[in-house]
Symmetry: none
DNA sequence: AATTTCTTGACGAGAGTTGGACACCAGCAG
DNA sequence: CTGCTGGTGTCCAACTCTCGTCAAGAAATT
């Protein structure tokens, strides 16, 4: 504990390895190939690193983490190393903030998620999706990870590249993550109410779940009525909840005449001041017919968000 | 930025690609087809770009992002490029909302939060902060709303513009929002462990809470030991949890000699391979002294995140 | 005695290089 | 509308270079 001892502290290779994050092998290789440090030796020949060695190695390790290669930086002085590191790190701190940095990260999450699906690793998939919602915003995570993921899975499933098991695993994980996201949304007590679901014969759920979550995050109270629901049930839910808006997901089957009948029935059963919006592939194909019933057809989620905000401008601009 | 110092650094293609956002393929293609730069070569024939090359390529990349095509701008001088880019970007700033729109939203949340503080409206403040975390990402919400808010409150409190009641209300709301954020973080079972808190005599908590939340969101398991904790207690917590990292928030009082003693005591009590990092105003003022104890001093949260990622690279790049 | 560290040498994954091919898009001519 | 052409980003194959890792046997440390 004397000051003399404190300055003379020497570290064995194990301590240096753990503090710098470099393996003992690497420490020896760097010393031999690039002479980055020349540690003292014990009587038996074992390396004893000084604090100065430790600092130099730490700086080198940080520079490596910043994308440098050891051969190029092994000769630099401490001061040069520090300059290099601060330049690299501030650069990196900035780049994660730009729009393109974010775009890049979103596609990175997407490919990881897709890999988890093909690996049939549900735990991994769920974790990737949760991390995406934490590191990107919820909105970006839905638009640029979850929706593209489902789309890609659908395409590959149709092409026979993946099995129904993969598709099912993806659905389950996405459903759970959406439920988790929605549970952490905060809805003010005086929020307007929206009914979300799919009408009769539409037997898919994820589209509606995504719409429900999106609606929640725009500060609406959501009454989620599930899928394949007859017009009467939707009308009852609307009346009881006092909803101003009904959002219907129409994906499959497309081109079913029954669907138009159902939509018309809903339109007739609820008060005319309730706005009904539809989205999804099946809605696109029947675009004109649906419009004649006085319903809106939405092409994508951002458009839906804009609609929501125009219906109920939140105190927070945009 | 003196030219004498800047000349030392040469950049491998990987760094240039990351900083400019251009792919290595593009860098080579531009060099071959348009001679936009002529990088030096290493002994092995690998490209080594100077700072000047880097700047030129960055400008070209921005011009490309602005809609220009490489063939038409490859001959332009740096000045001409700058003019072109500012013209393009001001043009675009008027028409659409991109990165600036996000920045704008963050500052919008911030001013709403500040208004809630001066109005002594805790419910509103909490809701604004929660919405900020939902609409921005958690990371951005912390960096650009919560931290600036606390800073502004501190400044106004010091200037006597607001009362202790305002300051207290802000602390309570922020603390609750942080707790909520942390509860919704997902930590994988095999995550490394970090101990977070403040040492003895440091009687503030929010800084440590923010660090704890940030650490959680980087997929670490956090042992939060609270504030004003003696060195022995921190050492025990470290040992029992098997932590690899101790993160200490040092804000107030600054310049207290006692603090350095405490830090030294912690350093001596825990195994040398445990990394200790410090941050906060008091850490900055004692920067050099702390560094001699083998501890890192962190300037801001982005730098802390980079450190965390270098210690435990998550499967998700960046 | 068990574990760690040392040295030397070699291996191989990954990154970088070159030359060339290819896909895509625009504009323009037939 | 179709086909051609030049401009560009991307990809591929084969090779080289870099650098982390491993193996094996000896020595030191605990």
């Amino acid at each position: 504990m004397s000051p003399a001892q404190a300055t003379a502290a020497l570290h064995p290779v194990r301590v240096v390895a753990q503090r710098t994050g470099l393996s003992p092998d690497v420490l020896r290789a760097w010393e031999k190939r690039y002479s980055v440090v020349q540690p003292l030796r014990s009587d038996g020949g074992q390396r004893l690193y000084t604090d100065a060695d430790l600092e130099r190695l730490s700086l080198l390790a940080r520079a490596i983490a910043g994308g440098r290669s050891i051969g190029q930086i092994s000769d630099l002085s401490l001061r040069e190393l520090e300059n290099l590191i601060t330049a690299d790190e501030t650069e990196r701190a900035n780049s994660s903030r730009t729009a393109q940095g974010r775009q890049l990260r979103a596609s990175c999450f997407l490919s990881l998620a897709m890999k988890a699906v093909t690996d049939l690793d549900m735990f991994e998939l769920e974790e990737v999706l949760r991390r995406a919602t934490m590191h990107l915003s919820t909105v970006v995570a839905i638009d640029e990870v979850i929706v593209p993921l489902l789309h890609e899975v659908g395409v590959k499933w149709a092409a026979g590249e993946i099995t129904p098991a993969h598709e099912h695993l993806g659905s389950v994980a996405v459903r759970r993550v959406l439920a988790w996201m929605q549970s952490s949304a905060v809805v003010p007590p005086n929020a307007p109410v929206a009914v979300v679901g799919t009408p009769a014969d539409q037997r898919h759920e994820l589209g509606a779940k995504i719409v429900a979550t999106t609606t929640s995050y725009e500060s609406w109270k959501v009454v989620y009525v599930g899928s394949d629901l007859p017009a009467e049930a939707i009308a009852v839910a609307t009346k009881q909840s006092g909803a101003r808006l009904i959002a219907l997901s129409l994906i499959y089957p497309t081109g079913c005449p029954h669907m138009l009948e159902q939509l018309k029935a809903i339109r007739d059963l609820v008060p005319p001041e309730v706005l009904i919006v539809t989205g999804g592939k099946a809605a696109q194909t029947q675009r004109d017919a649906i419009a004649t019933y006085g319903m809106r057809v939405i092409a994508n989620l951002p458009e839906y968000r804009i609609l929501l905000r125009s219906l109920h401008p939140s105190p927070i601009g945009l």
